[in-house]
Structures are given as structure tokens and as C-alpha cells.
């Protein structure tokens, strides 16, 4: 089980505390545009949460991450089932998805700028393109790992297709779905910043661009921390959901 945030391990506290102290120590020897003091970063970080406009920027990024992941997830589920149902579908879809997965996020940014006019469609496209293949493969793996024994057992009761999905397939793929969300959330957070750097008029990526133009390292770090905190909070929420949904598993088999 993941350690709750309020019960941080001693090693975690020491590692993060050590990094903070080292940064603060460096700030005594370097100019603030390279190593701003920790209190200055903390002040900027708190200011983001007290200013409604800054909060709206953070919210915009969060909304883009969720929208992109939701669309990619739905597409991924559909593709995974099409591939899972037929070996022929799999043989056609696998190389395409593998190819898509190999395209760098920056290339998708360029393609999106050329193909789409508005900012939001561009960002949505980039988010979906960079995460759909991973969702498909992870859900397909979960589907294929379904126990043949349990499938035969359920089939022996002659269920309808809907009942088979509800009683066997869905509970089988839920752990894979949750893992896919956790993994893709980290990827999406990295990609959304790149996407917002190009052409967006709001969001964390846009704010990072502003800080770069002002040479404000404290501001850049504060906005970066906002994104990291957001990802950590959502991952904790998914972990809690996982612990609740997978409560049937022995404790040792749950998320670590």
C-alpha cells in the first residue's frame, strides 16, 4: 500500500529536506535568477493559490489533462476491445499504435499547429495522440490476462454478453485501467506543458513561458511545483480508489 501523505517515510522527508537545504545553500552563492532562495519560491507558490487568475490558469491545465485523458481512455478501451475480440484486428491495429507511440510529443505539437486552428483542439489532439496507444496496450494486456478457468466457469452458467461483461470482464480489467490512468497521468502532465508552451493563452505551460521571458526562476519553479502537486494529489486519489475497488485482494497484492 502507498504510504499516506501524512505518514511520510523518514527517508522521503530527509531526501526532500536535503534537496531544499542544498538549494537554499546554493542561493547564498548564486544570483537569484539562477538559484532563488527557498522562501521566495514558497511565497510565489502560495501567491498562485491566493490569486483567482493564477488559480484559473492552474485549473485550465488540470481540465486539459482530464479532458485529454478521458478521450484517450475511451478510445483506448474501444481499440483494446476490438483488438481483444479478433486476432485480425490486433494484427492491423498493433503496428499502427506502436508507430503512433513512437512519435515524439514535440512532433505531435507541430502536426497539431498545422492541422488545427484553435488552441483547445490542438491541445486535446496532442494529449490524445500521446496517450491513446499506452491506454490501448495496457487495457488489452489486462483483458488478455483474464483467467481461462474463470471464463469457463462463468460461461458454464450461460450468461448473456452483458452479464459476462459485468460479472467477469469488467472486474478483470479494472486494475489494469487504474494502472493505465496512473501511468498516463504523469505522461499527460509532461505533455500538456509542452502543448501549452506553443500557442496557449493560459495554463501552467503559458505561465512557465511568461516566467522564462521575465527570467523569473522563482516563478518558474513555483508553477512547476503546482503541476507536480496536482499530479501527486490525483495519483493519491487514484490510489485510494484502487484500494477501495481492489479491497478483495490480500494487502500484499495491492498497490505498492
Amino acid at each position: 500500500m502507498t504510504t499516506p501523505w501524512y505518514k511520510l517515510r523518514k527517508e522521503t522527508v530527509l531526501a526532500l529536506g536535503g534537496l531544499t537545504l542544498a538549494w537554499q545553500f546554493a542561493s547564498y552563492f548564486f544570483p537569484p535568477y539562477l538559484f532563488p532562495p527557498v522562501p521566495a519560491i514558497a511565497q510565489k507558490f502560495l501567491a498562485i493559490f491566493l490569486d483567482p487568475e493564477s488559480l484559473a490558469n492552474a485549473g485550465a491545465t488540470a481540465a486539459r489533462i482530464f479532458a485529454g485523458l478521458a478521450v484517450a481512455f475511451l478510445l483506448g478501451v474501444l481499440l483494446a476491445f476490438l483488438m481483444g475480440r479478433s486476432e485480425r484486428n490486433y494484427r492491423y491495429a498493433y503496428p499502427l499504435l506502436n508507430f503512433i507511440q513512437g512519435i515524439p510529443a514535440l512532433s505531435w505539437v507541430v502536426i497539431a499547429i498545422i492541422w488545427f486552428k484553435g488552441t483547445e483542439p490542438r491541445i486535446l489532439f496532442i494529449m490524445v495522440a500521446t496517450t491513446v496507444a499506452a491506454f490501448s496496450f495496457q487495457i488489452l494486456d489486462a483483458y488478455r490476462s483474464m483467467s481461462k478457468d474463470l471464463f469457463e466457469m462463468t460461461l458454464s452458467f450461460r450468461p448473456s454478453k452483458r452479464d459476462l461483461f459485468r460479472t467477469l470482464i469488467l472486474p478483470t480489467i479494472v486494475p489494469g485501467m487504474l494502472t493505465a490512468w496512473k501511468v498516463n497521468l504523469g505522461n499527460a502532465a509532461r505533455v500538456v506543458v509542452v502543448a501549452e508552451l506553443v500557442g496557449a493563452t493560459g495554463g501552467i505551460g503559458y505561465q512557465l513561458l511568461q516566467q522564462q521571458q521575465l527570467f523569473d526562476m522563482a516563478g518558474a519553479l513555483a508553477w512547476t511545483l503546482v503541476l507536480v502537486v496536482f499530479v501527486l494529489i490525483v495519483q493519491q486519489v487514484i490510489t485510494k480508489l484502487e484500494d477501495w475497488l481492489l479491497a478483495y485482494r490480500p494487502r500484499a497484492e495491492r498497490s505498492t
Binding site: 478457468d149 458454464s156 450461460r158 472486474p171 485482494r249
Partner: protein, 264 residues
């Protein structure tokens, strides 16, 4: 069909000259024979034990009965219908107890017993009452809300038996369900199973590789030889058990009479 089978009227289960061939995995153009012109019949309410060595086609016969595979030739009739082509007709009429318990790990003991009844579309209150009744009957009161990983092997197998009985099927198919259990637990469950089948008037086919188990659970024993065909058919009820055991041993070891003698 043999003489014993010829007298079965209005059979619950009928195999008529059933042949099953499988394609070889390594050489797709070649096939191997798993079941060879198998014919037998089972009367309603009869308990049959199918005995044979590993790989003799017992499981193939079992899957043909459950409608999970289609015969290459011949006909299989269960309650007068084709279990493969009329698969859904058997909803609630046929239940299977497998070699391993095959419990859904995300459901509690109660949830697992409710599975079959739930798939029959019964209301929650009704299915809960039925499932609780079967769990109590099989000595699992107090474990209703335990997940499978928290139950012992014997308890899990009891849950799987309760799951099969809960749908109140006319026919019960069992594929060596007690083979993985320790002797004492296995013996207790065999007794409970026999009692439940008799009390509820079920037709039962019990696949096993243990002669003792076959003698205990079968009113009639069918000994299979590879590829699945009947080498011996013996009526246990009212017969001399030791003589039947000797005949079964000889039928199972046709080329090794001394081995059979020693084992006897």
C-alpha cells in the same frame, strides 16, 4: 451401446457414437482423436462416476457435456437438447463443479454463491436467501463475507459446490473437485456431496481418477480408455464392491495384470 445403457429409458444424458478430433497445435494439418465413438446414457437422478487415467479424454467428454466444445461426429443430448448448439437453453438446468474452485476473487463467499442465481435474473432478496441457505448447509455460516483468499482450500471448494447447487440444476457435472484437497477434507466433502445429490434428486456425472472416489460417488462406473471410449461399465449399487474394484483395476491396467493385482 452396451446392455446396461440399452435399458436406460428417457435418458437425462445421451452420447451416441460421439467422435472428437482436435487439430494439433504444432502441425495444423494433422489432428488427434480424443473421443472415439463414445456411446452411453444416464437415467434421470442417476449418479455416474467416470474413471480413467490422465489424458484418456475424460475432460473432453466433460467439455462436450457442458457444451463448451462441439463433437466432430455423433450426437450429444442432455435433457433432450444439444448442449453446444442450444447453449443458452441450459441456463439454470446444468451446473459444473470444477477441479479447482474457480471462485471470483473480487466476490465474497456469498457473492460467489449468488453468481449463478444472479445470472438467472432473480431478485437480490431471493438470491441472498438462497445463497445464505446453501452456505449454512455446507458449514460456512460466519464466512459469508470472507473473500476467497481468506478461506482454506476445503472451504473454497465448499463455496463452489454451494454455487452449483444454488441454481437448483437438474444435472451436476463434477470434474475431480476434491482431488486437490487433503484426504480428510476430501472424504468429508464426498459424503456431503453424495448426500446433497441424493436428497435433491440430481443427475450427476463425476469425473475422477480415483477408484475409491468412483466407488463412493457412482451408482455406476464407466472406465475410459484412451482415446475416450468405454472399456468397462460396472453397476456399483447392490454389487460386491471388492469384485468391482478388481474389475475396474484390470480395466484400467489392461496390459499390466500383475500391477493390477498388486494394487488390489
Amino acid at each position: 451401446m452396451s446392455e446396461l445403457n440399452a435399458v436406460v429409458a428417457d435418458a437425462a444424458i445421451e452420447f451416441h457414437s460421439v467422435v472428437k478430433r482436435f487439430l494439433r497445435h504444432d502441425r495444423r494439418d494433422e489432428s488427434f482423436l480424443a473421443v472415439d465413438r463414445l456411446s452411453f446414457a444416464v437415467a434421470p437422478g442417476e449418479m455416474i462416476a467416470v474413471l480413467g487415467r490422465t489424458g484418456c479424454g475424460k475432460s473432453t467428454m466433460f467439455n462436450l457435456l457442458a457444451g463448451l466444445i462441439e463433437p466432430t461426429e455423433g450426437t450429444v443430448r442432455v435433457l433432450g437438447h444439444d448442449p453446444f448448439r442450444e447453449f443458452n437453453w441450459y441456463r439454470g438446468k446444468l451446473a459444473v463443479v470444477f477441479q479447482n474452485d474457480r471462485l471470483l476473487p473480487w466476490r465474497t463467499a456469498l457473492g460467489n454463491v449468488e453468481l449463478g442465481i444472479e445470472l438467472l435474473g432473480k431478485e437480490e432478496e431471493e438470491r441472498r436467501a438462497i445463497a445464505l441457505g446453501w452456505l449454512e448447509r455446507l458449514g460456512l455460516k460466519g464466512h459469508e463475507h470472507d473473500y476467497p483468499h481468506a478461506l482454506s482450500g476445503g472451504m473454497r471448494q465448499r463455496v463452489s459446490i454451494a454455487r452449483a447447487f444454488a441454481v437448483n440444476p437438474e444435472i451436476l457435472l463434477c470434474d475431480e473437485p476434491f482431488s486437490a484437497l487433503d484426504e480428510l477434507t476430501g472424504q468429508r466433502l464426498r459424503e456431503e456431496y453424495t448426500q446433497l445429490v441424493r436428497e435433491n434428486g440430481k443427475t450427476s456425472i463425476f469425473v475422477t481418477h480415483s477408484i475409491n472416489e468412483a466407488l463412493q460417488l457412482g451408482e455406476r462406473i464407466l472406465v475410459f480408455h484412451r482415446p475416450a471410449r468405454i472399456a468397462l461399465e460396472a453397476r456399483v449399487a447392490g454389487g460386491d464392491r471388492e469384485a468391482i474394484r478388481q474389475r475396474v483395476l484390470e480395466a484400467m491396467n489392461p496390459n499390466e495384470p500383475r500391477l493390477a493385482e498388486e494394487a488390489a
